[in-house]
């Protein structure tokens, strides 16, 4: 059943994320080519394409989060929820599918952003991604501490992104606690929840990391383990809240 949930969630998100990603890549190409054609003179078309490309790269990140959250709300808590929640699947299977597909959508938007920068660079004779990777590899060789940071960050970001998705879905689910102003409640829980989480983690980080002379000097595995633990606590708390709402407080609109 999870495979079927994943299939349908991929179809639902893919129909928006894929064309958007392709559009951003096309604009990256058009924008770069227009730069070549104009021989250095900035034309209105080139300025426009570059602006659209720039906005597109930024927007695809925001869009992917918005689309993921909206898909979660629409399929579970809108009227479509009558069908979704009547499917022979457990709430955890439902959540797992939505979060995994959302994570892939966000990862895809990251790849599109990197890819479009690479296209822009390649057309203009600059290898942006290659230079970046070479730089990182060189840093890894020169500075083990920095290399450690990079490796640990590569572990931290995916886990942190998944936990953030669970938190965002939990905020959406909080809207089920009221009959009116659901969006306002979800947005309020998101803002307040983030503020409290950041406050608590800042305090915790200060206490736990006091022994280190500075963040830069602290062992990366230690700092990032603390960050990871904080993210995981947020994610697990969100999962429990989501399960509670899905089991006890579903309040679908007629």
């Amino acid at each position: 059943m999870v495979a079927k949930l994943l299939k349908h969630d991929f179809i639902a998100l893919g129909r928006i994320i894929l064309p958007t990603g392709i559009a951003v890549l096309v604009f990256a190409l058009l924008s770069s080519l227009s730069g070549l054609i104009s021989n250095g003179n900035v034309t209105l078309l080139q300025a426009l394409l570059t602006a659209v490309f720039g906005i597109g790269v930024t927007a695809i990140f925001i869009l992917s989060y918005v689309v993921c959250v909206k898909h979660f709300y629409d399929s579970v808590f809108s009227r479509r929820g009558y069908l979704t929640l009547a499917l022979p699947v457990t709430p955890m299977q439902l959540l797992f599918s939505k979060v995994l597909v959302s994570f892939v959508a966000i990862l895809f938007s990251c790849l599109v952003a990197v890819g479009s920068l690479e296209i822009y660079g390649l057309v203009n004779g600059v290898e942006i991604v290659g230079t970046l990777v070479n730089g990182i590899l060189s840093l890894l060789g020169q500075n083990q501490m920095l290399g450690g940071w990079i490796i640990y960050l590569l572990v931290y970001f995916p886990i942190s992104a998944v936990c953030s998705l669970f938190f965002m879905f939990a905020c959406v689910a909080a809207g089920q606690l009221v009959n009116k102003h659901r969006f306002a409640l979800s947005a309020g829980v998101f803002v307040l929840g983030n503020w409290i989480f950041n406050l608590l983690t800042s305090l915790l980080n200060q206490i736990i990391l006091t022994g280190s002379a500075s963040l830069a000097e602290a062992a990366p595995y230690f700092v990032i383990t603390v960050w990871l633990a904080e993210s995981i606590i947020l994610g697990v708390g969100s999962i429990f809240f989501l399960r509670y709402i899905l089991k006890n407080k579903v309040n679908l609109l007629a």
Binding site: R80, Y82, L85, P88, L252
Partner: protein
């Protein structure tokens, strides 16, 4: 006779306001049951509890001997009182969706019912009229060979022709030996097809009887009995 649905002391409150109070009933397998009552009597709450969309404040509800969950959802086809269709999908995609999740979903049955309405599988849900969306929802529900069909207000707000289509679709497509629970306040329209009637009133079971025996005993049709029962109620 085995009961397909049973409730024992079932209660549900919303923020202290009771929607169902101590409801106990048994619905035997194989019949057509009318879950009847005026608006706000607790019919939809009862159905949502049966589907696991709500949790009871007290008591229990069982479908085929099991609490609502994955197993009961496999054998229950549910038509809610809301448009649950995904607007961007085509009718065919909605069929694929249902067929993927419900092993008892028959595409052949669905296609036959769609052909009767001249609705194409490639038509987008969003392009369908409100009436056709309701019919497609019904088709997706009745295309299943389920043990239990729960239909929440299937004939509310439809014209007589559509009502006849809906009732005909339900009774000519239900799986053999299955149970149909029709939840409605339009008793006159369904009284001839019911084998059992459950009257809900203010969250309690006001009457639970075999329709043929009740009508014979009272010497009047079901809707007359219903009207007499609730005529003098100040809340109806």
């Amino acid at each position: 006779m085995n009961s397909i649905l049973s409730a024992v002391g079932l209660s549900k409150s919303y923020g202290g306001a009771p929607a169902l109070s101590n409801v106990s009933l048994e619905i035997p397998a194989g019949g057509t049951v009318g879950l009847l009552g005026p608006n706000g009597s607790g019919k939809s709450t009862f159905i949502k509890l049966a589907m696991g969309l709500l949790q009871p404040t007290a008591g229990s509800i069982f479908i085929d001997g099991k609490r609502p969950g994955v197993e009961t959802k496999r054998i229950t086809a549910y038509l809610p009182d809301a448009n649950f269709l995904t607007e961007w999908m085509t009718v065919g995609q909605m069929m694929d969706y249902c067929a993927d999740f419900f092993a008892d979903f028959s595409k052949e049955k669905a296609r036959a019912m769609l052909a009767r309405l001249s609705i194409g599988e490639k038509q987008r849900i969003r392009t369908l009229s409100k009436g056709n969306k309701e019919k497609v929802s019904l088709i997706l529900t009745m295309a299943r060979n389920a043990k239990l069909y729960i239909l929440d207000e299937p004939i509310a707000g439809v014209d007589p022709a559509a009502r006849d289509y809906i009732l005909d679709t339900v009774f000519s497509n239900r799986a053999p030996g299955s149970t149909v629970i029709l939840c409605t306040h339009l008793i006159y329209d369904v009284q001839n097809v019911l084998t059992q009637a459950v009257f809900l009133y203010q969250g309690t079971v006001a009457l639970n009887a075999d329709v043929a025996a009740l009508c014979e005993k009272e010497g009047k049709p079901l809707d007359e009995i219903f009207k007499e029962m609730f005529r003098w109620s100040p809340n109806y």
